[in-house]
């Protein structure tokens, strides 16, 4: 347990402190089976169809970044939570908390971007809410989106489906979103521009489920806490481990350079348009082909596998064939000083 009696920034970082806050403070307040599963979306029985329901808040700074903005992020992020749960997104809500003083032109730009992202996925924003708070009580604009979708008939994903031998696929380069945001925030310039991967993974997820059904064991979009957090969540209550191979993990060279410069572990850096898929060994190649057939899956790769292990650890086999543990990130990446 952390000794903190107040909320720290790190509680929102998607790492160990977030996990601790959820388990020790939030879940006990509501305590129900559906919530306790901590899936990306809740599955609610509704006649012959199962409905998936999810919600997410967006507080990104800066509001506009290379590759996207808070509007696009709010739509794609919630679509992705439905998609990785094996659902076809059907409708979204969009709720705004706006700080007094925000230019209307900025708001229009954000909403236009959200609308465009929704249209590209053939999904409508069907309800919402608007609140304005005094200057200083929010950072320009916060957005919440909720989404509902219908479970795809062949979808059968969940932690419990995973077993030793399954392969792990990531749909493209990692760390792009987090490093783009951090570099832009710090005014760092690189010769090659970095770009957030902010986008939808719904097409990849739907195609994989349609083709392979229950052979797709688990999917998750590795957002806050990056690949490290997602893989550690997978092993957290398991009796197996994960081995991943550094040479197989796709990373944009500029993103790697930026991470190295600041002393960050690229595995801990956020993504906003990637999916991690756990698939049965015999269908891994087929799943990889499906990813590569999609526009945002061209750099997909099999990065490792589920392994029998005495300890439920995620381990990285490094370029030089050494091994090291990949830990659940603490929750807040801090740049090194020298």
């Amino acid at each position: 347990m952390t000794a903190s009696d107040k909320i720290l920034l790190a509680h929102g970082g998607g790492g160990r402190l977030t996990d601790e806050l959820i388990h020790s403070v939030i879940l006990p307040a509501f305590d129900n089976r559906t919530l306790n599963k901590l899936t990306d979306a809740a599955e609610i029985p509704a006649g012959k169809d199962n409905i998936c329901f999810t919600t997410d808040g967006y507080v990104v700074k800066p509001l506009f970044f290379s590759g996207g903005d808070i509007g696009k992020l709010a739509v794609c992020g919630t679509i992705n939570d439905l998609a990785v749960s094996g659902a076809k997104p059907a409708a979204l809500s969009l709720s705004l908390i706006i700080e007094e003083g925000l230019e209307i032109s900025v708001l229009k730009k954000i909403l236009a971007s959200a609308a465009k992202a929704a249209k590209e996925e053939n999904i409508s924003i069907v309800c919402g809410d608007t609140k304005v708070v005094e200057a200083g009580c929010a950072d320009k604009i916060f957005i919440n989106t909720s989404g509902v979708g219908f479970k795809l008939p062949r979808a059968d994903v969940g932690f419990e489906k995973i077993s030793a031998g399954d392969k792990i696929i990531v749909s493209g380069t990692i760390g792009d979103h987090g490093m783009t945001i951090m570099s832009q925030r710090e005014g760092m310039k690189f010769e090659t521009e970095m770009k957030s991967d902010c986008g939808s993974v719904a097409q990849i997820c739907a195609k994989a489920i349609e083709a392979l059904g229950g052979e797709i064991k688990f999917m998750r979009d590795p957002t806050r806490g990056g690949l490290a957090a997602t893989l550690n969540e997978i092993v957290s209550q398991a009796d197996y481990g994960i081995d991943i191979y550094e040479e197989n993990i796709p990373v944009n060279p500029t993103v790697r350079a930026a991470a190295d410069m600041l002393g960050f572990d690229i595995l801990n850096i956020a993504n906003e348009g990637k999916v991690v898929i756990v698939v049965s060994e015999k269908n891994a190649e087929k799943c990889l082909e499906i990813c590569k057939s999609c526009e945002n899956g061209k750099n997909a790769a099999v990065i490792g596998e589920i392994v029998k292990s005495d300890e439920p650890l995620v381990e990285l086999v490094t370029m030089i064939k050494g091994r090291r543990i990949v830990q659940m990130p603490y929750g807040r990446e801090l740049p090194r000083i020298c």
Partner: protein, 360 residues
């Protein structure tokens, strides 16, 4: 790549034969420590060679008294603390800066220049720059002091705890219990001070000093060169980082350090007082000296009972040998600074190597 690794293996074996025992190489830099762990080097090398993590993480060697003094300043309404990120989680006796950020008066900066910008943006506040780090960050602090003078900015205060690397290496070797056979010297620091700065270490203690960058293959090259020197009994200063490090270093940076700071005796966590190892602002810049202007002197505090960071920093024990490691001292509840800093030996060990060695 494999050729170079095999060559290093052979040199390690030669050095072992020559010394008739296990080789102990100290990496003096926290970034090396993390690179070694991240690349899985610890497991890739034979057990006959051990890498010791030295006092090269500026956060790890920061005296608790200094942290407590910064915490006191953070509680003042008239002060705004500008700090490098990795100081945020270091525990003093009254908590850490991270636990005090809710008042909004602690800002993480990436450079000393950012602290000066804060001073311009907040004329009603006293900006206290938490000036830590080795010769790598000291020149930037010195430049900021000069700029503050030129631009007549009077609300920036430097709380200097900059440290010098070579005095610490000398202090470690002066301890008769030390187990150090050679040093892998820090890349970034050496860009400033130059590889010749290590000549006294070689001359006085007959220990190889090889400068390396942070790529795994550079670290392997450095280990190979160190072991060659040990095997042949020819300790020398060398560099496998010639692209960035020259023998003389960056003369301009050295000059501005000399013109801005005095090297004084200073306390290092775990190592105690080391002569001429700490940089304090010269008298002519006392208007910018946080200790002199804000009345918040930092007093050396004895290390916490039970914490063996000092022995870890000296290479006398490995982190798991400390009785607090992974028990009461964990990354989320660190007792000693080696567990809290991202570049601390204990944190790296806990994060990357918490289980027994396992061969592929």
């Amino acid at each position: 790549m494999l050729d170079r690794i095999n060559r290093a293996y052979k040199q390690i074996a030669r050095a072992q034969d020559a010394l008739g025992r296990k080789i102990n190489i100290m990496e003096v830099c926290g970034t090396h420590t993390v690179s070694v762990f991240r690349a899985g080097l610890r497991e890739a090398f034979p057990e006959g060679m051990k890498l010791l993590s030295g006092p090269g993480c500026p956060v790890c060697i920061t005296d608790q008294g200094y942290i407590d003094a910064v915490l006191s300043l953070a509680e003042r309404d008239d002060c705004l603390i500008a700090t490098y990120g990795d100081m945020i989680r270091v525990p003093g006796r009254k908590g850490s800066l991270e636990k005090k950020t809710d008042r909004g008066n602690i800002k993480i900066v990436l450079s000393a220049e950012d602290a000066l910008s804060l001073a311009k943006q907040n004329p009603g506040k006293k900006i206290v720059f938490v000036a830590i780090g080795f010769e790598t960050t000291a020149p930037a602090t010195a430049v900021v002091v000069r700029e503050a003078v030129q631009q007549n900015i009077k609300n920036i205060f430097i709380f200097s705890n900059h440290k010098l690397v070579v005095p610490a290496m000398t202090a470690l070797l002066s301890d008769k219990n030390n187990k150090i056979d050679a040093f892998m010297c820090p890349g970034h620091v050496s860009v400033i001070i130059g590889s010749d700065a290590y000549k006294p270490v070689v001359e006085n203690f007959k220990k190889p000093c090889v400068v390396a960058g942070f790529e795994p293959m550079q670290i392997i090259e450095a280990i190979s060169e160190i072991c060659r020197q040990l095997a042949e009994g020819t300790p020398a200063v060398d560099s496998v980082y010639p692209a960035a490090v020259t023998p003389q270093g960056n003369k301009t940076a050295q000059r501005i350090i000399d013109e801005t700071f005095d090297a004084v005796d200073g306390c290092w966590r775990g190592l105690g007082k080391i002569p001429k190892s700490t940089l304090k602002l010269k008298e002519q810049f006392s208007d910018f000296d946080a200790e002199k202007q804000l009345g918040e002197l930092f007093v050396h505090e004895k290390d916490l009972t039970g914490c063996q960071c000092g022995e870890v920093l000296c290479g006398l024990i490995d982190p798991p040998d400390c009785k607090l490691f992974a028990k009461s001292c964990m990354p989320d509840t660190p007792v000693g600074p080696c567990m809290v800093s991202s570049e601390g030996a204990c944190a790296a060990w806990y994060k990357y190597a918490r289980r027994k060695r396992r061969t592929q």
